[in-house]
Symmetry: D2
Subunit: 399 residues, 4 copies
């Protein structure tokens, strides 16, 4: 163990989230325009990392965290399908190294291809050839020195911070899993689109889930079929809730529908980006997959950031890992909040401050907790290079 | 006073921010790429509101909250100025009504002109004619019915929430005012650029401010002058801190500088968007002007949203107003956290839940507080239409 | 036969091209950036015609004749291939009907997909996923009336003209066939790219062909191989010339090469659009496939124009057909020049003027020629609707 | 005088244009979309030349000849003006040197500013801030060697040719001057727009001019005013014709108008680019300002080409100069056609072939003509560097 890393573990006085009377949680699913932006940004960064490594045995500077999705227009029809009239426009921005030690590297080509493949991979009905435009204004940089990226421990590129917490509350878990469940039903129920937004509200012991789930016009022949599909989704979500949670759970889906008049949440492609809804990196889920106004959050857009030197991304991912380990490994911890603050120019394993706020289980002394928690933080900082590796391998989500 | 609006005032058990040992606060100034995006988006929405009103006596549907800033490239030189080589590219997205009851409305023209004027207004050195490209992919909609916008109280367009708190802690106030101070010094010290980022860290009683302040190459003849400018800024910030706060305040500026080797934070235009730093609406300051990971935050990008029906914007602005009134009008309140949750399709003055969490001054009973707080919330909901008016008039900030 | 169609057949005093001492002819092949623009534009128009017909039983208004190709950048290497660093950017412009009698039509989607397929179809090495960006700013129109397009004979949409001539001179034929030959060799000699430009100069009886032929880096392992390939091409072209022509033909290829220093015409994709050479519709070949400064030419960009009502396209295609028939069917005609001038608003089969200039074979009387030529013109005007049909079927080239 | 420059002067057998029974001539005025593209392209090249010279004492490589104009949409109204709804989109392409001997040069900035100024300069009603978008995808190159551009006589960059003729026929002169006249009337008659297209047809001794002249909605209060304006224009053109020409001249204006139903050629900005008409460099007038299908033409797009090394531009401009001098200085020449063919890599004053075809006045011997013509060509080739200078100074038009 190295010397002090400015780790500060403290007992914090706070009503645990589960004991607060109101709780709000949101998850924007894979096909939500903001998540599409996140997903493209992160998949490009991963692919660049992989290709830089293959070619130069090191990861070179890049940040592809500025994808912008501009909505198209469409005319879905329950009977016949309808059309995408204006394609979804996707602007890739950010920057990447295209020249290293006199060798060139086709970052733009990789970015464009990866983005196109991302759509093929994640969407069942969207047709990339005609329904999206992928444009690129990726900035280009060149690097002479391998050094920065080859130090054992890189230096912080910014004064930035990460925040994390654990564990998920029941409502948080339920919101997260609800989206995952519905997305996973697409093979079984092909009318389910990829754009699924789940909002959870807990008032004391009552949880209500409000789901907005796009449906796919070409897979539906009538309003009745649509109603069946949404009912089936509700049923499945209720089953999930019943299995996981003891509280009352109310499920509502596509509340803006007006079935009588045939106004339903219908799309041609499965995402509302086809008509009117734009999206940006970093405006949706935090890196734990949720938006949680009850919890400390970072505004950092982790998706697409370089996982080797971008301290904002690393500290956000790391904070979540530390928080999870603390609750998993120390029984007496009820909730933990982690905040890591970097100092620009200093090694990333030596934060300006590593604040660990703990809400212990009742009737517990902080004494033992403090040491154990410090050890977990210390160990993670010693192994901070695992974070980039896990990010590249796709083992850490960013949205 | 109307009937119940689901207002829930509760005493919450929480260490007040001032009593927590660690506090983190950030503000991205006017010239930061994310703030430029916010500023353009919001100024376009304001101008559209004004022009819709003049023309149609009502505000029509629009959301211009998806501006993307793609960085240019530049070569600032301390001696001679240097050049912007690739212009900053600005993509306007979102959508606006261009046709109403058979009359057309030039939303795109207004958006483009407003964005260009915004640069003229806020930047002293950037030359809009050659140093920026403003492109537009603003979606267009048409409306037949005046109705939606003419009801006394519009219906929520989404299930969304707003969060607010009051009062600002000392650190929060200091971070906010530091940026405002430096931006205001530009006439006196013309080498100061508009891109000013302030990060505040409080560890118990020690506050440290880390300032990143762009300087303008054409106003500097030597490294010495640069050092003088940054020293002068530090001096002014220290004066401000001394006047406002009793705690120890340490001020650091442009920490990545390497004066010896001439590596300093120098720009041609005053913003880092000229070289490498992209920006997006909603990734920077929350609508209170700060990023505060210690506080509940909404991910809502308020800038550019339509202030009449976009419930996410309205509730975020309203939450801040309510919180401020609660602490100003009720002496016994130490801190207040406000959360408003809408229900899609219902009147916006009838939220699904209005949660008011109060940390009272020590030795205070909640009894009187609760009623007073409820009255404040109730009154604001009765007058919710003041929010759009204040937003249009520029009386409410969104970033 | 209808009444007078303002057909004017005249004997013109002119040195026949073959008898002039200097003749210049050029052909830009399929992979030349200007031809790529033409090819995309025309293939989109054809596909739209086909799809409009299938859907509405009539062809709706469109003009997709404004494709712009913006060059990328690349680093081809003789040994290993090299990379496309900046993709080729293709902007689709023009306009198309997206709404007809309350039904929508996905013109943009069809345009994007057709353009992408065009690259897959015509290029052997270019990878559309990563090496091109296809953007669209296709304007959208709607039509209520089927009428305009359903009249037996549409009205001219403009005051415009077409010009044609026949027959090709020897040099013209040779230039045309040389490009076709080399393009056709790509399977046999995979190092041959698609960007082939042929310039022919005849000085009295000496013809010299100057060929610029892109080669493909991934198919070449050494400069020697490159030299072999270019020699092989020269050989084949000489064989072609010997077979077709009795004159002396000198063949030069890639004259800017500096073999000693390894500066050769090498590309990654087969087209110079990958590095530095932009292209536009209508700047290359005329609709007979050649650029012939010795001959009357129209500036009309036929590619991508609507073949039903765009009089400039129709009259250019028709002029060539008429000219060909005149020389094929009337033995005494040595050369013929056809000019058709429309009058806006009048039926397209009733031109303002149809001028037929004839250079008869020596010792021939114009008497019989005149009547026969008039009959040919008259017959074509009576059957002018064959032109759109032939254009749609791909039986008429536009570049 | 240097040695042979491959100058070939010959008597050509050809019916002089004035003696042919049919003649077609067209001019697209300053505000026609194709001419806008030409004008921007050429003004950027001129400005770059000037600025390169100021900075580096030499002109560096650039070609800005690929501007694309994508039409907007508008709703002009005779009474009130109407609006530009979608701005005109202008894409600057081509390439320019941004780095020379370690110094950077802001080519993009200059291009953007020049294009914006061009609109301010040439248009009276178009508002650049809101009614146009100027985007740039100008490629960037760097140069180490000053050499190429500093040789006394540069080498040809391509195998290319230029063509020219003189003198203008009566119809040609009239078409040209008609556009110039109307454009010049804008101050006196502010309802005249900049988009003026003139088509001239001569049938034996009858000339008919067909004018399409955009009018400006905000300057017209009624259809009657419109009719007065177009009548006034016709009157002025008739006066011009009467002064210059003895033949019968018929003048028609805006033939597609349907006055009864209020369908007239009305615009908000003065150019049809505001609604539906795209434009490209090189698709309009040849460098003599006309489109003349009766004459030899080059397809070369001269506008925006680098005037120092781009042989296609230089030879086209030079051909026109030579042709004019030949007819002006040699009385016995009735018509002259000039064609210059370059050979890549060879000095530009040593063309592969300089063909001078002369139609002498009747009863004239070629003997003296030949020598005089040769001397003129020879002298121009010796002073070929005057061409770039004249182009930069704006003394030579390119469209």
């Amino acid at each position: 163990m190295r010397g002090s890393k400015n780790i500060k573990v403290e007992n914090v006085l706070k009503t645990p989230v589960e004991d607060q009377s109101i709780e709000l949680v949101e998850r924007k699913g894979i096909g939500h325009p903001d998540s599409i932006a996140d997903g493209i940004a992160e998949s490009i960064s991963r692919e660049l990392c992989k290709r830089y490594k293959e070619r130069f045995e090191t990861i070179l500077h890049h940040n592809t965290d500025e994808t912008q999705i501009v909505a198209g227009s469409s005319s879905p029809e329950i009977d016949g399908g309808g059309e995408v009239l204006d394609p979804i426009y996707i602007l890739l921005a950010g920057r990447a190294t295209v020249k290293f030690q006199d060798e060139v590297f086709p970052a733009n080509k990789i970015a464009l291809k990866t983005a196109r493949d991302y759509f093929r991979d994640k969407f069942n009905h969207l047709e990339p050839d005609g329904e999206i435009i992928i444009d690129s204004r990726l900035g280009e940089t060149s690097t002479e020195l391998k050094g920065v990226y080859d130090r054992d421990v890189p230096a912080s590129n910014d004064t930035s911070f990460g925040v994390g917490f654990a564990p998920f509350s029941e409502t948080e878990r339920l919101v997260y899993e609800t989206e995952r469940l519905i997305y996973g039903l697409r093979d079984e129920i092909p009318a389910i689109g990829e754009d699924i937004k789940v909002m959870g509200l807990r008032e004391d012991n009552d949880i209500s889930l409000t789901i907005a789930c796009a449906t796919v016009s070409s897979e539906l022949n009538s309003i009745d079929e649509y109603v069946n599909v949404t009912n089936e989704i509700k049923e499945r979500v209720r089953d999930l809730a019943a299995k996981e949670i003891e509280k009352e759970v109310e499920v509502a889906i596509n509340q803006a529908d007006d079935i009588e008049n045939g106004n339903i949440y219908l799309t041609v492609t499965g995402t509302s980006a086809e008509m009117g809804d734009d999206g940006s990196v970093g405006r949706g889920n935090r890196s734990n997959g949720l938006i949680t106004p009850n919890r400390p959050m970072s505004m950092e857009a982790a998706s697409g950031k370089n996982p080797v030197t971008h301290i904002g991304k690393i500290y956000n991912l790391l904070s979540n890992e530390i928080a999870r380990d603390v609750v998993e490994e120390i029984d007496e911890v009820k909730e933990v909040y982690v905040r890591l603050l970097s100092q620009i120019g200093e090694p990333i394993d030596d934060p300006r401050c590593a604040s660990i706020q703990i809400i212990p289980e009742e009737e517990t002394h902080m004494n033992t907790i403090t040491d154990d928690a410090e050890a977990i933080v210390d160990n993670w900082l010693d192994n901070i290079n695992k974070i980039p590796e896990m990010a590249m391998a796709g083992e850490l989500t960013t949205f």
